[in-house]
Amino acid sequence: MALSRSGSNLLKPISPFFSCAPSILSRSISSSNDSITVETSIPFTAHNCEPPSRSVTTSAAELRSFFRDMALMRRMEIAADSLYKAKLIRGFCHLYDGQEAVAVGMEAAITRKDCIITAYRDHCTFLSRGGNLVEVFAELMGRRAGMSNGKGGSMHFYRKEGGFYGGHGIVGAQVPLGCGLAFAQKYSKDENVTFAMYGDGAANQGQLFEALNIAALWDLPAILVCENNHYGMGTAEWRAAKSPAYYKRGDYVPGLKVDGMDAFAVKQACKFAKEHALKNGPIILEMDTYRYHGHSMSDPGSTYRTRDEISGVRQERDPIERIRKLLLSHEISTETELKDIEKEVRKEVDNAISKAKESDMPDPSELFTNVYVKGFGVEAYGADRKELRATLP
């Protein structure tokens, strides 16, 4: 009853894709710079705005890069799963596999000067913003080579040069931060936008509406992206939200519902949103996506949904499979080439893990670094605070 209701909705977007498939075979590709036109799986559903077109221009190079990036992300998350089970990663580990299209599609539509801020399911978004695998695994294992020096962990990935502002553990708290980033962009008049991402669980947080109100009032270039994977930890969206049309929740703020398993739909929507936000202020994007793993590594993910549902989505809507089919149908790559890419990616991930394992744990003195930007000269250490250490100028 409950599970089957959601199951049927999740599989729906696929059928239109197959009906459109014959029209995509425009020509066989030789040059990687020729543009290809791809249709998104389903049309966009819009609220208070005109939806963008379903036709997305791409190229062979972009298709290949989408495939490789998503395969890398998928491999990284699976490897993190094994590392967690081997007790090398502790605490909370929230995996993104299944949702890769959102990270990859968004990155294709924007620049590094645009800001992205998200919640704790941040490994792949960090990667798409220019992070490298060694930093990821080192941080997950609490080593010094991690991007937060091992002091943040899975939920606190940040990359300032890449415009990636984290990485936040408290549900919903990143959305006001994201509107603050958008405010700073408006303040400095630099024509960039901020994507503040959150989940369907966080969509019920009050601070979201507060921040949206302010963003709309002050005309901020903020794009609120709801990654709707239909489950807020163990609670299905229909049990948590009276109205699960998250893209409509902005009321006066326009919204767009996007198939989040289709990287091109995501790319088109983000491009559209960026143009909109720079002219008209905030917009909400709802990415209809799915996570194969449970909420985190401590959640098997099968107590509130059936394995059939998970495997069904994996068969019908998997984002990497979609790109693979496009690559094959446009004859950009062969099966073997794609398998080679996957093998290469696997090796890359394994190498990164071994390199990360070589990194040390942080030194005990690191406990006290970066608490303040500028410290106070004399600090009292030790559990009894009797150990005094003074930094002489």
Binding site: I117, G166, I170, P176, Q207, V373
Partner: protein
């Protein structure tokens, strides 16, 4: 931590305006001068070392003092300036500090409820919106959680927002943002992001404002790692601390007090910035060290008058820096007097006084002749009735009794 002091070229002795005048009511203090009037720019470090930045040939070394404190008129210290400065009220001093910093740095902006067109509920930001525009002085809706979060997010990119809580108590709604994001982002990002925000607002027990509008949040925020807390008490230190807080790279919470906004005093015309981590010596003495901050400073000074008449010589220190404590100044004083009385406005349970008692006992136990006495407000919601409200906070008579008992 370096602090810059700039004085006028004058090395004459004190003029009478520097003498410490008491007035019966707390609202009419005059002459709470600080005496760092030097003839050159000196860098003063919080570890009490100083080094001249320019050649200060006109000054004798013993006239230079090593911390931002006011001392008695008869000690040989640097003189007053020939220009007497200008008089203003504490909220105007805050506004001056704010305005100067906004002029100096275009990244400084203010956000809060009614700070813009209305001019601020306590007039701290009056006139700033017309001067700097709506993008730098921002009226927010009543949404503390989100606008505090927005200020912190803006700070991550390099802006320097000043977030005003109309009453400190309202910032409880933003506790998650202040604790998790403001305090911790510098650490969890491995130093990538700085959060140079100033969170300020009036708190403390007012005149029958009721329980929810008389909260003292310094006790709730004090454990948050990564933030600094300061409390201002005079127009002089209000302006100096405001400027220091804005210039600081750390997130700073500046606690003002509702009843102190209309304090009138004279402050220097020249630009000055105080150190965020230093305590202020209000009245040097020999018999007992009284540590206090914010409004209780005035209750203490009133009690000090009575105590002096009774023959006691209390040393009064306004700790100003609530996190971290200026244990250097406090320690020096404890080593001199061997008796400590803490007078605070927050409640005893988990309050600033409790932490201070622990800190002093741990560090200076051998110098104490008697156990530390801590006078705090009662652990009750502040009642509306005037008499009850008076009994909630520490009154000067109670301070006098405590000192008498302590000095037996």
């Amino acid at each position: 931590m370096a602090t810059l002091f700039q004085g006028l070229p004058s090395s004459t002795a004190f003029s009478s305006s520097n003498k410490f005048n008491h007035a019966p009511a707390p609202t009419s203090f005059s002459g709470t001068w600080n005496n760092e009037r030097k003839s050159s720019i000196v860098t003063v470090r919080s570890d009490a070392r100083w080094s001249p930045v320019l050649n200060s040939a006109t000054h004798k070394p013993q006239r230079l003092i090593t911390n931002a404190v006011a001392t008695k008129a008869d000690s040989s210290l640097a003189s007053t300036s020939s220009k007497p400065g200008h008089e203003l009220l504490l909220f105007e001093a805050l506004r001056e500090g704010l305005e100067e910093e906004m002029e100096r740095d275009p990244c400084v902006c203010v956000m809060g409820e009614d700070v813009g067109h209305y001019g601020g509920s306590y007039k701290v930001t009056k006139g700033l919106a017309t001067k700097f525009g709506d993008l730098r002085v921002l009226d927010t809706p009543i949404a503390e959680n989100s606008f505090t979060g927005m200020g912190i997010g803006a700070a991550m990119t390099g802006l320097r927002p000043i977030i005003e809580g109309m009453n400190m108590g309202f910032l409880l709604l933003a506790f998650n943002q202040i604790s998790n994001n403001c305090g911790m982002l510098h650490y969890t990002s491995g130093g990538q992001f700085k959060i140079p925000v100033v969170i300020r607002g009036p708190g403390g027990v007012g005149r029958q404002l009721g329980a929810e509008h008389s909260q003292r949040l310094e006790s709730y925020f004090q454990s948050i790692p990564g933030i600094q807390m300061v409390a201002c008490s005079t127009p002089y230190n209000a302006k100096g601390l405001m400027k220091a807080a804005i210039r600081s790279e750390n997130p700073v919470i500046l606690f003002e007090h509702v009843l102190l906004y209309n304090l009138k005093d004279r402050i220097p015309d020249e630009e000055y910035v105080l150190s965020l981590e230093e305590a202020e010596m209000v009245r040097p003495g020999e018999h007992v060290t009284i540590l206090t901050y914010s409004r209780m400073r005035y209750h203490v000074m009133q009690a000090a008058k009575t105590l002096v008449n009774k023959g006691y010589d209390p040393e009064v220190i306004d700790i100003r820096s609530l996190k971290p404590f200026d244990l250097h100044t406090i320690g020096k004083s404890v080593k001199k007097t061997h008796r400590v009385l803490i007078v605070e406005e927050c409640m005893r349970t988990g309050g600033i006084g409790a932490s201070l008692t622990a800190a002093i006992t741990e560090n200076f136990n051998d110098d104490l002749d008697a156990p530390i006495v801590c006078l705090s407000s009662q652990d009750v919601p502040t009642p509306y009735a005037g008499t009850l409200e008076e009994w909630t906070v520490v009154q000067p008579a109670q301070i006098v009794t405590a000192v008498e008992q302590l000095c037996q």
